[in-house]
């Protein structure tokens, strides 16, 4: 339910409180001792209104502070002590309780009114503290208990006011008083928040509560009997006097209850502290799942937290990697020592472990001394869908073995840890994939930049070239060099190996051929020079195969040499001829063997001759049955289409290879360069 003005802004509440306070002050100065029914009514109403507004304001700023209950209680205690001081001063100021009169002295009156306003605030504050503590860590459904009590406190105050007007109506006051007291007792039992304090806080509270209970008791006693203070309160407001009296009672009972509850909570305080730390550690870990992506780092964190979770002296983590269990992280123990214990227990005995297992030093089934001086060992499997992905170990030096609580904690923690580690593993794998893909993209880019962007054009020589990169970048390369008006140099090469390293070698190969093609005109000599250069730079496992040649585009003559490359095919008169002059691959031999064995081949081109240069990506294309495309199919397509345009032939070959290897992905680059001698056709066409 909502109380009036409850939703005002805090500053408005303060303004209203001050306004009503001033109004009350003026009223009191004019009528220090209200004697008519109307004046009394106005008096009580003003006090109620200003007191209510103060309470609303105090609630608005205490709500945030109540999270640290000890501090709030201390504040209430200080105000209570001030109240005690005021009561004491009043008591000593007047000798006779019935001798209290105000109107005689104006200054006394002013002081009295000020003090009363202060009391209004103090009691309001103490009440709000009680109210906030009541709701602290409490279910919402109990709100009606507090509200009912507040109403009865008000009724009692009203009853007190009526009583002072007409003594015969005293019974109304007492009836409300009894109910209020009863409700105070009931509400005083709401002290659930004590359980959530740490042991240290509980000890503090124990001392504070006993002092406050006594202090409230004293104040209660003072305000219960016909003391000077009570007389003065009756003059100020009978209702407020009764209200103050009941709040003092509340304080006495409440702090008494707090004292005893805290006392009974103390023995379990430590266990409670542990439990709450365990819970917060578990929460910490679940946060970690989303924060730590590095597997190694996460493994370290897991072992550190394991120690906290079960109060162990050391912990370590073993993770399955390619069928073997490997030590991934240790905490407070050396790798060697952890490995000794881990090997000592023989992990193969725990292949079906589905929950935490505690092994003590005395365990008869285990070989003696394997624990290396530790007294108790806990093994927890890291389970992902019942599969063991690793084990978490914790050991204790102290005599106290791991108990059922520890077992539960380690188990719960291990479940989180297993999940977190699995996530990190997957993430790492996908990052690695992405990195590799970027590398491949770069290699592919290099490859495209190295290859010629267009083929040269001649009257009698038709040229077609085609390059299809594999998913895993290879090291194919081809190029044309215009040596002179009539001479065209060409090269096709294949670097062994794949990936970024192959594409770097390819770049080097391009550099070599570009620079020496203009200097050395004989293909065999040129390849020998290339071998010399590459032998120095290539690692021992890498080689490059190549064909280099020159075509005389005026006279129709071709000269070439082969360095370990796939045979050059000549398609002539519907037949395919495989041309393989001897020659070692570049980088295979570092001595003179290369020079001594390489041969050149030279012949005149006949009309419609097709020269076919390619890399092994074509004949070695495989289908799903790992069968190779081979030379026979390749040659058949060439012969069948030999009278067609070169681009068409290229297309037919690629079609043939793709159809053949349908469901198998292309694992090597494919390069195809075709030359066709069209001398006669063109000559007749022109003339």
């Amino acid at each position: 339910m909502n109380f009036p003005f409850q939703n005002l802004a805090a500053t408005r509440k303060l303004e209203n409180s001050i306004f009503l306070g001033i109004l009350l002050f003026i009223f009191k100065v004019v009528y220090p001792e209200p004697d008519t029914v109307l004046l009394m009514f106005v008096n009580e109403l003003l006090i109620l209104a200003s007191g209510y507004m103060m309470v609303l304001y105090i609630i608005s700023f205490l709500e945030k502070k109540v999270a640290s209950p000890i501090a709030v209680i201390l504040n209430a205690g200080i105000f209570n002590a001030i109240l005690f001081f005021i009561i004491t001063v009043y008591s000593s100021a007047y000798d006779d309780p019935y001798d209290v009169a105000l109107s005689s002295n104006f200054i006394v009156t002013i002081i009295f009114i000020f003090t009363s306003l202060l009391l209004l605030f103090i009691i309001g504050y103490i009440f709000v503290v009680f109210r906030e503590l009541f709701f602290l860590r409490q279910k919402k459904s109990l709100r009606s208990y507090m509200n009912t009590m507040v109403f009865f406190l008000l009724f009692t105050a009203l009853g007190a006011a009526i009583k002072s007007l007409n003594g015969s109506l005293e019974f109304i006051f007492f009836a409300f008083l009894v109910v209020s007291m009863l409700l105070i007792f009931i509400n005083s039992l709401r002290v659930a928040w004590i359980a959530f304090l740490t042991k240290k806080q509980k000890l503090q509270l124990l001392g504070i509560s006993i002092v406050l209970s006594v202090l409230f008791g004293l104040n209660f006693a003072y305000t219960l009997f016909d003391t000077e203070f009570n007389q003065l309160m009756n003059i100020f407001s009978p209702g407020f006097g009764a209200y103050l009296n009941l709040i003092m009672l509340y304080g006495t009972v409440y702090f008494g209850v707090i004292f005893f509850t805290t006392l009974f909570h103390l023995p379990t305080a430590e266990a409670f502290d542990r439990k709450s730390e365990e819970i917060s550690t578990l929460i910490d870990l679940s946060k970690l799942i989303t924060q730590v992506f590095d597997f190694k780092e996460l493994a370290e964190t897991v072992t550190t937290i394991t120690m906290k979770v079960c109060y162990s002296d050391a912990a370590w983590l073993v993770i399955e990697h390619e069928g073997k269990y490997e030590l991934s992280a240790v905490s407070n123990i050396g790798y060697k020592e952890a490995e000794t214990i881990f090997n000592g227990i023989g992990i193969e005995n725990y292949a079906d472990l589905q929950e935490v297992l505690i092994i003590s030093e005395e365990d008869a089934t285990i070989r003696s001394n394997f624990l290396n001086g530790f007294k108790s060992l806990a093994i927890s499997p890291l389970l992902i869908k019942k599969d063991i992905t690793g084990y978490l170990f914790a050991v204790r030096k102290v005599e106290q073995e791991f108990d059922d609580d520890d077992k539960k904690n380690i188990g719960a923690f291990a479940d989180y840890a297993a999940l977190a580690l699995e996530n990190a593993k997957h993430l790492e794998a996908s990052i690695e994939n992405e990195r590799m893909e970027k590398e491949l993209d770069l290699a592919r880019e290099v490859q495209y930049k190295i290859l010629p962007s267009k083929t040269p054009e001649y009257d009698f020589l038709e040229i077609s070239s085609l390059f299809i990169p594999a998913f895993e970048v290879g090291g194919d390369y081809y190029d044309f060099f215009k040596i002179s008006e009539s001479k065209l140099g060409f090269v096709i090469a294949d670097v062994s190996g794949k990936g970024i390293s192959a594409s770097f070698v390819m770049a080097e190969v391009k550099g070599i051929f570009e620079s020496i093609s203009g200097v050395i005109s004989e293909p065999a000599k040129l390849l020998t020079k290339a071998n010399e250069v590459l032998s120095q730079s290539l690692d021992k496992k890498t080689f490059v195969t190549a064909v280099y040649g020159i075509i005389d585009v005026e006279h129709g003559k071709i000269t070439f040499a082969r360095a370990g490359h796939t045979p050059v095919l000549l398609i002539r008169d519907n037949k395919a001829e495989s041309l393989t002059p001897t020659g070692l691959g570049l980088g295979i031999d570092h001595g003179n063997n290369f020079l001594n064995t390489i041969k050149e081949l030279e012949f005149d081109l006949k009309n419609n001759d097709i020269i076919v240069l390619y890399t092994d990506g074509i004949p070695e294309s495989q289908n799903a049955e790992l069968e190779e495309y081979g030379y026979k199919r390749f040659e058949e397509v060439l012969i069948k289409n030999s009278d067609k345009q070169l681009d068409y032939i290229s297309n037919e070959i690629i079609q043939g290879v793709t159809t053949f290897s349908q469901n198998s992905h292309q694992h090597d680059d494919i390069t195809l360069v075709l030359f066709k001698w069209n001398f006669n056709n063109n000559k007749f066409g022109v003339s």
Binding site: D494, S496, G497, K498, D539, K540, K541, T542, F543, T545, G564, H565, T566, P567, T580, T582, G583, L584, G585, I588, D589, N593, T597, L626
Partner: protein, 119 residues
Amino acid sequence: MADFSVNVRGSGSVNIIDLKGYLDAHTAPELENAFNKLIKDSKFKVVVNFDELKYISSAGLGVFMAYVEPMRENSGDIKFSNMKENVYNIFDLLGFPMLYEFFKDESEAIEKFNAQAQP
């Protein structure tokens, strides 16, 4: 993917490496390990038996290039035997027969080693 295995056995002073299956970039390290072990044990006379090898890639060829030098420097060698035609063609195109000795059967290769050791 395709399986591959390396087996090393001794025959007097000569060691024989049996290759089986597919030798490519992924399986080449297994062969490298076998060669490393032989060098560590100072066994430099090696015959590689290709009888059950189905396929060899350029990465596989690279392994022999890398290990032939240390063998020859220690008066040993790597000789090849029992090669199927399709595998031999790959070696042949690259010019390996100009640098390595190939034999129809491993016994011939062993004999050659023993004959060289005699004088």
